[in-house]
Symmetry: C2
Subunit: 130 residues, 2 copies
């Protein structure tokens, strides 16, 4: 087994998440391609996107390989690990780590459509049958 050095998850900022999402959805991508994808949703200057890419590489949340004179970027941390990490810190910060509180809040705050409720019940069924 390779030694898992359990590097602390890089702390990804709000804006940076946008960029990560793009690359988790599709990668590798050149900076220009990321800029395109981002443009669909955010009104950022291409410079800004480049900055994000640079910072994410520094944080080792992204990696790249040289392709001719440009870079091909790809995630260096898994989306699921980041989701786990972000969920955990959000949960502890806002809901004192009480998952049930969060769930109750979601259900309660009308965050869930009837459909969502059905899906959720299904998920729970499955989990029980597990």
């Amino acid at each position: 087994m390779p030694k898992k050095s359990h590097e602390p998850m890089p702390k990804i900022s709000d804006a940076e998440w946008q960029v990560m999402q793009v690359l988790w959805d599709e990668s590798p991508l050149t900076a220009a391609q990321v800029v395109e994808r981002i443009a669909q949703e955010q009104d950022w200057s291409p410079r800004t996107v480049k900055t994000m890419l640079g910072r994410l590489v520094q944080k080792e949340a992204l990696a790249f390989t040289q392709e001719g004179n440009r870079y091909l970027y790809r995630p260096a941390v898994s989306r699921s690990a980041c989701l786990r990490d972000a969920s955990k810190s959000f949960l502890s910060r806002v809901f004192s780590g009480d998952t049930r509180l969060l769930l109750a809040h979601l259900v309660d705050a009308g965050k869930l459509s009837d459909d969502d409720v059905q899906t959720l019940k299904q998920i729970l069924q499955d989990k029980e049958r597990k």
Copy 2:
């Protein structure tokens, strides 16, 4: 009806949440009392706590009334409103606004004990009977 000016929720930082939680749990409190409560969990200098209090007052997340030569602090924004706001931005940033994804993740990532699952089912039952 008083005119609801819908001020944009003040953006509460990670560290500031700690202080808000204390005051949502019990208020009003003097700075010294907040320092005490915080000391239970965090190893912050009393100065640091004072800074948080000051910033939260600026952001109008806290209000105070003078009591002799000291202040009595109390929340100026409701916990539930902040939970709503924080949940919303977390959800959209991390889970692209897909509540079901978040739920699936929570259930899935073993965040839920069997007990939690029961509670959740109960919550759902209640919601349906609503």
